[in-house]
Symmetry: D2
Subunit: 385 residues, 4 copies
């Protein structure tokens, strides 16, 4: 069996999640390529070495450029903050490496366009790229997509999507990198809002065309991370809310916030169609609610499907009926699909072009919030499609 030799850049939260996926994927799924965890890169030598040992990588490096330059690496997995994505990804693609890049694709539309162009160019040389919108690989989400694609809810009229967290409600929570625009690009919008934009477009197969938005930063000064008394300015949004119209005719509400006290990771999507509805809540990620308007009228109701059966997406690789899987499995499924696509010589999804389109929506949201006006989502350049 051939190998897919992986070099990962970054080893924080996302690095740990990706590592769990790379370690597990060949034990759960039968695949034509075996993932080899060759090297992990991090700026600090000691911390990178510790991460390599803990997360299961064969070696470590302190400069991602060294990893990209290695002949014995097939794929670069980018798990760093958004301000570094473009440089790493473009270099890796140029070096003929497949790329898996965490979301959001970039911190700016310009960077995202460059990345999408680089990916398109690399594609012609058989180099694959994928943006890591992992929630697409939650089995209940994929089941949702299939039901919608099969016409089971008819024409989608309403989308209701929220991503609710509460980890910075405390004003004493410090000024971490995710609260700084120069590193993170945006706040709740790019971090979690990006997920619900991608998911709803993925599930419905339609795209957001225009938005009206507001963003808010509830706590504008926070203690610095170093424990000094000085505080620093929060330069990103705590919350982003917007209405949207989609090209399939649906209207939508979106909300991403880090101030929803008690909601820890509350990614929820509900779609109402002309024939039925579907609803998903990541807090109960092994369940999907489906309302089938075609059933006898006295028997209609939201059905709680336990998406834990062998004939549900991805589930045959796991446990017997009724045994829940967890958050990390979405990453295992993601790299499963990536490996399968690479082995088959096909392009995995979501592509960088798909991720650029999400970036264009986020950009429209920011411009709408800034201008207090409806804003059209910019089209992608032809080259990026």
């Amino acid at each position: 069996m051939g190998q897919l030799r992986v070099g990962m850049v970054g080893h924080a939260f996302m690095g740990a999640a990706h590592s769990q996926a790379w370690r597990t994927v060949n034990h759960a799924f039968d695949l034509p390529l075996s993932a080899r965890m060759s090297v992990v890169a991090g700026r600090d030598d000691q911390r990178a070495a510790t991460a390599a040992a803990k997360l299961g990588w064969e070696s470590h490096a302190t400069d991602w450029r060294d990893v990209v330059a290695r002949d014995d690496i097939d794929l670069i997995d980018i798990c760093t903050p958004g301000d570094t994505h473009a440089e790493i990804a473009i270099a890796a693609l140029a070096a003929g490496k497949h790329v898996l890049c965490e979301k959001p694709l970039a911190n700016t539309v310009a960077e995202a366009r460059d990345m999408a162009a680089a990916a398109a160019a690399a594609q012609s040389r058989g180099i694959r790229s994928m943006c890591a919108f992992n929630y697409r690989r939650v089995p209940a989400v994929e089941l949702m997509r299939r039901l919608v694609a099969a016409g089971r809810i008819g024409t989608v009229r309403h989308i209701r999507a929220v991503y609710l967290q509460d980890w910075i409600v405390d004003p004493e929570f410090p000024l971490v990198w995710r609260l700084r625009k120069d590193v993170a690009g945006s706040g709740a919008l790019g971090d979690i809002g990006a997920h619900i934009v991608d998911l709803t477009q993925f599930i419905t197969g339609t795209h957001i065309t225009a938005v009206t938005a507001l963003t808010e930063t509830f706590v504008r000064e926070r203690p610095l991370l170093n424990g000094s008394k000085t505080s620093g300015e929060v330069t990103v949004d705590d919350a982003a809310l917007f209405l949207a119209r989609l090209d399939g005719g649906a209207v939508a509400t979106y909300e991403a916030t880090r101030f929803a006290t008690g909601r820890k990771n509350g990614l929820r999507v509900e779609l109402n169609g002309s024939l039925g509805s579907v609803a998903f809540d990541f807090e109960r990620m092994n369940e999907l609610e489906f309302y089938d308007g075609a059933l006898p009228s006295t028997e209609q109701g939201f059905s709680r499907i336990l998406v834990t059966e062998p004939d549900h997406p991805y589930l045959s690789a796991w446990w017997p009926p009724g045994h829940p899987i967890g958050y990390e499995h979405s990453f295992t499924h993601e790299v499963r699909d990536l490996i399968a696509a690479i082995a088959a010589g096909e392009d995995p999804a979501p592509s960088f072009a798909d991720a650029l389109q999400v970036q264009l929506v986020l950009d429209a949201v920011e411009r709408s919030a800034a201008s207090a006006a409806w804003v059209q989502v910019e089209p992608q350049l032809a080259a990026a499609v």
Copy 2:
């Protein structure tokens, strides 16, 4: 339109619930007879007068015998504790009055047999009798029965029934009549266990044939009601648990308790059949859960049917789709069915014979708990059927 002139005996909790039903039934339903709330009887003149005014009765009386003796009363509604049911019901039937009697039918099997015999004798003279197992008239319960009767869950294999309350968890709660065997007959068993016995037999159309049981009294001494320092003995069960076999082949667990902290009125019934399942929880009385094993395998799930649509049982009389009804509506539906049966010259259900059968199950439970052995449920006498 003809009248049905009602005399009610007792005006506590059940009297208030029945009064709300009698006041409302003709405003909600189109019926051939109009209920007239002629008189309410209570032992204390002043309290009976107050109750009549508050609950909407035209007059009051202090002796139920006077009410039974009146020519201008068509129906006696018995809302008193169980130790008085037999005497009142038998006298009323003998006087040619229709009878609605609260559950449990009586405190002993002997009394229940006498009542069932009296009802059978009266029936031949066109006198109707009904035992007030009101939960049968919750729309979701009736929908449950219809689904089972239509074969939608196949052969019933499992019954899981609990009735959970917590109103006497506090050991300082006083020794009210419901905790005294001489008045109440039994404790949780007859008060709430009777409901789940009746409901499960009603919904499945099968009967309990044998039981193995335990009963427990967790708090054996309680303060007297009069506020004196003296305490008195609790002479009934706080909780009754039993396993049962039913004549349709199902096996069952039953539990009735007043010590389930946090469960206020938790009547729950789940049935698992060879083709599907149904589940009901009175805390969410406007909902029914239905699992249809005939759906495509990836779409099976417990469906939460909001039983609030016009084509659901009883609902066309009430509000538009999605508007919940409450506990008291079960009584309004009960008297609706009673009035309809009387007007049609038919026997309403549950009959006194049905209620006797429940009493025989309760009796078997008590004998099983006392003997620590499996006990067969006694058959009804032929005369009582």
Copy 3:
């Protein structure tokens, strides 16, 4: 005990709900005035007569002016479509009658201003007026308001309010009056959107100051009611979505729709504050979810409070712990509070001025949707406050 002699105008859905409340209120609550159901008015003599008999009114009339003119009427209860509210209410107030008026207060801001002015003028003569936002009287909603007012969730940051129905998803559903702008004023916006605007302002004690909105009419032609082949134009919104800012600093999403397949009467409100959260769903109207951020961290969670205990708002009038009430009880509670206020010589809430403020929000939403721009909510005139 004194009487409050009521004349009701209109006897459709709302008339039936109000009738149930007037019939019941004095049986459930101890009040200084007894409601007397004197007369119901409807344009068609036969239908009004039938309604009077069915709903329990002593007499009927075919012209509301005759009812307003009667000396023996103390209160006019307006249950007609919105285009008639202003004329009836202003005449009734001028005639010295107390007024209970269904929501929305009027079809236009101009009418609502006139009504609020008339109510203010009447108030100085001891005449009371109230707008029937009945959901305020759901016990769980009132408990929610109390928790917020007591500071239990801290500063409110997020409001998430939807009112989801699905009764016109079928394009063959006919063109009823609620779908005609000339009669109904607006569609989902005024019918159900008004409720969530009122509720969220009521619960938080803050007001919406600006909105950005969209409205949509998914099905633009529908069959006429008379069964003719001809179809007619739907002139109101099927759905209205808006973002809002409130004067307390919160940001909000609102959505009212009649196209949320499977959601029958899904009025949901969630508030996230700096210290906790509360959430309510009318499909489970006897429950309130409360997240208390002050509890030990490992024990925090959304608590499902069964709002069915005697010490919960309004509940001491009803049944023992754990016994659900229904939709109609919100009206019984509403007239309870109205009677109590009239007897005490106090102004009930919500006042016509409160309802005008809701109307100003609805107006801002319509203007925002029409102009595709953020719109400030107009202030009330001083005279109307």
Copy 4:
């Protein structure tokens, strides 16, 4: 860092689950010993080789005796059917290997007693043994235990435990080994009933003293596995139901079944105490419901605790707040605790003696079902304690 060299016997469902745990544990937790997956044993050479490759073992063997005999193995992990547990475990302990043994400990009490005796003897030589009741290591279950142990629900009065599956509802499902008494020992009772017996005793810290039980086999003949037309006899129970009394004064209902249509892996435990209640449902394994009777009366309710926070049991090793884990994590936690105990020179729990006690309960259930009488649970021999 030292190694713990593991030899696993059996590589079906449980073998796969244990392998995932061994592969993951050192990547998630900081431990003084590193698990080394040395060898997996299976009777068929080819299948064992395939399993070794798929599951991540360094080598394979076809006779467990060879594995036990190896000097370079520190621990034997027994994942075979119950009829082989005693022989393997006793041999392994005699050879000075630590033992992790799947549940139920054995198919008979006699075997379980021998194993407990062997474990006790080995303990004196520093050899550790543990029975793999993995559900103890679900974080919500451990939180439940801590709440009960801390007195937060007071004296436990009621236990309500079910384990509901539906995988053999179809009468055409074949006669697999789990349906044959000679291999499996019992049916639902030992397979899943054992879990709820262990869990409830673990959480409450009390023991079942007596039971009254029934067992049922709904489908008595099933097709043979080899696809021949001949059918074979099901020799185990499809369902086992029992009432129990515990030495702490609680009364309980237990039910284990493979015929609960629609319930896939429905392990549910509810405890009602004098001060509060706790409830767990494995279908929502990341949640715990807690009712705290000490809260203000109007705020009491079952709180849905998302057991996904860093300060919850085991969770600091995983993802940020609100990210669910899955079934397999219970095994990772199990081997984490086992490794930690071995490294610390302490005995892990549950011990073989604990598992023997569960076996004694199962035995009492079987004897009660056979005799239709209450049966006392036998005491353990002193030597086994």
